[in-house]
Every structure is written in structure tokens, then in C-alpha cells.
Amino acid sequence: MAAPAPSAAVPIVAVPPPTAVTGLALKDFRNYGRAHIEAGPGLVVLYGPNGSGKTNLLEALSLLAPGRGLRRAALAEIDRDGGAPWRLEAVVDANGERVEVETGRDPDAERRFVRLFGEPARGQGALARTLGVVWLVPSMDRLFQEGAAARRRFLDRLALAVFPDHATTAGAYEKGLRERAVLLRTGRRDPAWLGALERRMAENAVAVAAARRELVNGLNRLLLDGFGALPRVVLTLEGEVEAMLDAMSALDAEGAIRDRWRWLRDADAVTGGSGLGVHRSDLVVADAVSGELAARCSTGRQKAMLLAVTLAEARLRQARLGDLPILLLDEVAAHLDGERRERLCATLVDLGAQAWLTGTDPELFAALHGRARFLAVEEGRLHEHD
């Protein structure tokens, strides 16, 4: 018997669809008593009047990644008024596999619990391995007008998506800085204790700076190609420790930082911080073609630049960790004119990631009709609309 001829059209290896949240149940979450949505791998548009709960839904999705979510809210703040501790149940399709994720506020421990397939997971690290989430929210519109602290936070959050250890190292550094301030302030000037602390902090500082540098270099490579109609953006890291790594080895930089900190002790005792360290770095964003700084650009152009950085972040995570994160884009269309909006929609379709977009009016996303799922949000309720 002759073997059946292989069909030329069937690929031998199926490429798994991009990571997507295909189901999400919210319980006592913000203005949602109980709600459930299902989604496919592509684009989802959430529309509805202000205050209807669109951003709350994005916040819920952002809490499927480690951390405090896109509002950086305290855990108890998220509880629905008069409700039980909040709780989310999600189905995530990651690398062709289906993962059941649960998270919520643990009322006993005042922290977030995480369960995978109903089994308690150790810490939030398991979330990072399951799903990447990147977001752009209106509060980030002020990023270029605010102080450097906001931009460092932005940078470190981006770094977290690519270097899972970054948060631990950055946290250890911040804690060291606080410990050193206590020692300097209380006059407990034990030189050996301060020296030991500064040595550990120098290790952390160099690790933080190295991760940021690698992140910025990786993003710049992707930003150079550009994302459809979005502006070409170039990122520059400004910081003494980061600059040291251009000039010397990590080990020499650690030594140099320790020497400087030893000399700075008296001055730092007065300020309560330190004149040197990765807590003083800044991120400068500029147009790669004109060189114009983002801080001097129009609101619409700033938004477009941030979008480019967000998409580069998604691509970088894909290159480093193998999966595209989901994108949460809150009110991104508001500042863009019709043509830019259409081109943004096309760029998102090209990217292929699951993206959740919000807007007050579904017509803002007219270009996506037939290519996205439209959900109407109304006072904590969701309606399908097609």
C-alpha cells in the first residue's frame, strides 16, 4: 500500500501562538463584584465612559505579572468597597500550553498569594515565568516632566521584564542605602560596619547599572529599526556609576565606588542619602533623527515615543525570554490624530502580541473593526459588541 503523499501545506512544527490571557475572572476587584471575560490571542478593545472600569480591568491584567500592578496600589486598596479580599483567576496560554493562574490578597499575611493550577506557588517569581506584561498608562504622560525618580522607576520596571533578578538587586541596593543613612545619622560610625555595607552596596550598584546599560543598549538596537509610523527614539542613560562601566571593569568600578563613598560619609550624613550611586541616574529620551529631547516635544509626540519604547520592550523580552508579553495600552489613542491612530493599529497587528486597548469611544479604533474583539464596559459589567 502506498504511503499517502505528504501535504505540502502542513507545517512540520506548529509555531505556538503568542502568550495571551484567554480567560479572566475578577472577584471583588475595584468596581467589579464578579466579572468574567474571555479573549483570543489578538487585540481587545475595551470602551466605555470614564469611570466605567476599563483601567481597572487593565490593572487586573497587570497583576498577573509580579509587582504591584500598573497603579502601584496597596493591596487592600484594590478590594471592592464592602467586598471580600480581591481575587483574580486567569487562564494564560503560554508557549502553546494552558496555565491556570490565581492571585489575590491574602488577608492573613497582607501580601499577594499566587497559585498555579490550584497549587500555591513560592513567591511571585512563578508569575514572571508564565507571563510578561508591559503597559502604557496616562499617568506616564508626565514622565518627561517629572523628576528623575519616575524615569528610574520606569527604567527598572523595563529591566525587570528582561532581567528577573533586577528587582532583588535594586531592592538590596535601596535597603543598603537606608542602612547606611541610619548608621551615618545615629553617629554609629563603625568604619568596618560602614565598609562592609558599602562593599555590598557597591556590588549591587554595579549589577543594577550593568543591567540598565544592557537594557538600554538592547532597546536602542530595536528602536533604531523603528516601529511602523512611531518616531525613532534613542535612549541615553545618565549616571556616574553607569559611566564608570564604560571606562573600567566591574571590579574596578566597585572599588572606585567604595573609595568615593568612604570620602562622602560626612556629606552624606547631612543629606541622608548619597551624592553617588545608581539612585541618582536618569534616562534621557530623544528623537533619533532630529535629536530633539522628549521633554521638549508635544504631548502627542511624547506619547508616540513612549509607545515606541513600550513596543521595543515587548520585542526585547521576546528576544531574551522567548515569549511576547501582553500589552496594556490605556487611553493611547486619545492624543493621536486619525492617521497616526490607524498606523498604530496596523503596527500592533504586525507585532502579533495580545494587546488590550482602552478608549471612551469605539470609533477611535475604527481601523481595527473585524481585527479586534470589542467589549463595552459599563459600571463594572462587560458586554460583547461586534
Partner: protein, 202 residues
């Protein structure tokens, strides 16, 4: 309502690590149900410990004799001191049965935020031991077996610096792949540490 005696017992039990008010009640009840096999023997054991167990004046271990049995053991290698945070860390090392040197129990780690400095830990005693070894001409190695935490690392750096004048060797335990561990299940930080501490075999 429970009697005053039982309530007092529950209150004390509830202060123990790992026990909350509910579990303290459950423990108290279990004790009371077995007065001869559990309650009385436990009370005797507690009394005996309260009467006899002391902190070793040399190393900080807990024992009925001072110096403790480990410090007195003539079979032990006097040229090695293993520094641990707490007595249960010492017990863990003893369980392994492979370490034959002496110990030094610090009683915690340095933490400026918790107000725990060198004076609050048993550090002066360790330095005195290093000094004595130097005076006696004993080649001493101090092995730091502290937790791989932010505080543990700072404490390690601190001890290394303070021990330098006594000319003793200072080492720390290796960090990396646990025995019986699969690479697949290690977190990124552990893999990084293991890579950094790799050993050449050929």
C-alpha cells in the same frame, strides 16, 4: 470558658514561633488530654532545660555544660571555626556529620534598620578567639556559614575585615547548585552564583 490556668498556658504557647492563638489552644488541649505521657514529661523537660541549659561562653552554643560539648571535644579540629547565625544552623551542620571543627554562633546578623550592631552580636568573642589563636601560633581558618541574604552578606564582609589583623584565613560556603538539584528548577540568581563559582575539573 477555659480556667485561668489553661488560659495562661495558651497565652504562653501562643508566643512560640509558628503558633497562633488557635494552634496554641489545640496544643494546650492535646497536652491536657495526655497528662501522663505528654503534659508531665514536657513540664519536666522544660524545668530541666530552664535549670541546666546555658549559653556556651566560648562559642554561643546551647548546652548543659559551659564550655559546651563541642568546644570540649578533644577530637575536634581547633584550627577551624565555623561562624553561624543561630544555634539551629549549628545543628544543621552537625547533622551533616562532615564538619569536625569548632563553631561560633553570632546570634543574628548586622542590621542597621533593626538596630542590631556588632555589640549586639557575639563578635567580640570571635575576635578574641582569633587573637588567642594567633598568640598560640595556631593556623586558624574561619569559615563563614551565614545566610545568603543582604544582611548575611554585609555581616560576612564585616567579619572578613575585622579578622584581617589576626592573619587567619577567612572563607565562606560555596553558593550554587544544591546536591540532587536539577538545573531546570533553579532560579536565575542561583544559576548566576553557580556560574560565577564554577570549578575547573580538567
Amino acid at each position: 470558658m477555659a480556667s485561668i490556668e489553661i488560659e495562661r498556658l495558651v497565652r504562653f504557647l501562643g508566643r512560640l514561633p509558628g503558633l497562633g492563638p488557635r494552634s496554641a489552644q489545640r496544643v494546650a488541649l492535646a497536652l491536657m488530654k495526655r497528662p501522663d505521657t505528654l503534659l508531665r514529661p514536657l513540664a519536666d523537660a522544660l524545668t530541666l532545660c530552664a535549670d541546666r541549659v546555658r549559653t556556651c561562653g566560648v562559642c554561643g552554643n546551647l548546652d548543659a555544660v559551659d564550655p559546651c560539648a563541642v568546644c570540649r571535644d578533644p577530637e575536634r579540629d581547633r584550627g577551624t571555626i565555623c561562624v553561624v547565625q543561630e544555634v539551629d544552623d549549628l545543628w544543621a551542620l552537625e547533622r551533616s556529620g562532615t564538619y569536625r571543627g569548632l563553631y561560633h554562633v553570632l546570634g543574628g546578623t548586622l542590621s542597621a534598620l533593626d538596630g542590631r550592631g556588632p555589640e549586639e552580636l557575639r563578635i567580640a568573642g570571635l575576635l578574641a578567639r582569633a587573637e588567642a589563636a594567633k598568640a598560640e601560633g595556631v593556623a586558624l581558618e574561619v569559615v563563614l556559614a551565614l545566610g545568603v541574604t543582604v544582611e548575611g552578606q554585609t555581616t560576612g564582609h564585616y567579619l572578613a575585615e575585622r579578622l584581617t589583623p589576626f592573619g587567619c584565613a577567612v572563607s565562606r560556603l560555596a553558593q550554587g547548585v544544591p546536591v540532587g538539584g536539577e538545573m531546570n528548577y533553579l532560579d536565575e540568581g542561583t544559576i548566576e552564583a553557580a556560574l560565577r563559582a564554577r570549578q575547573r575539573i580538567v
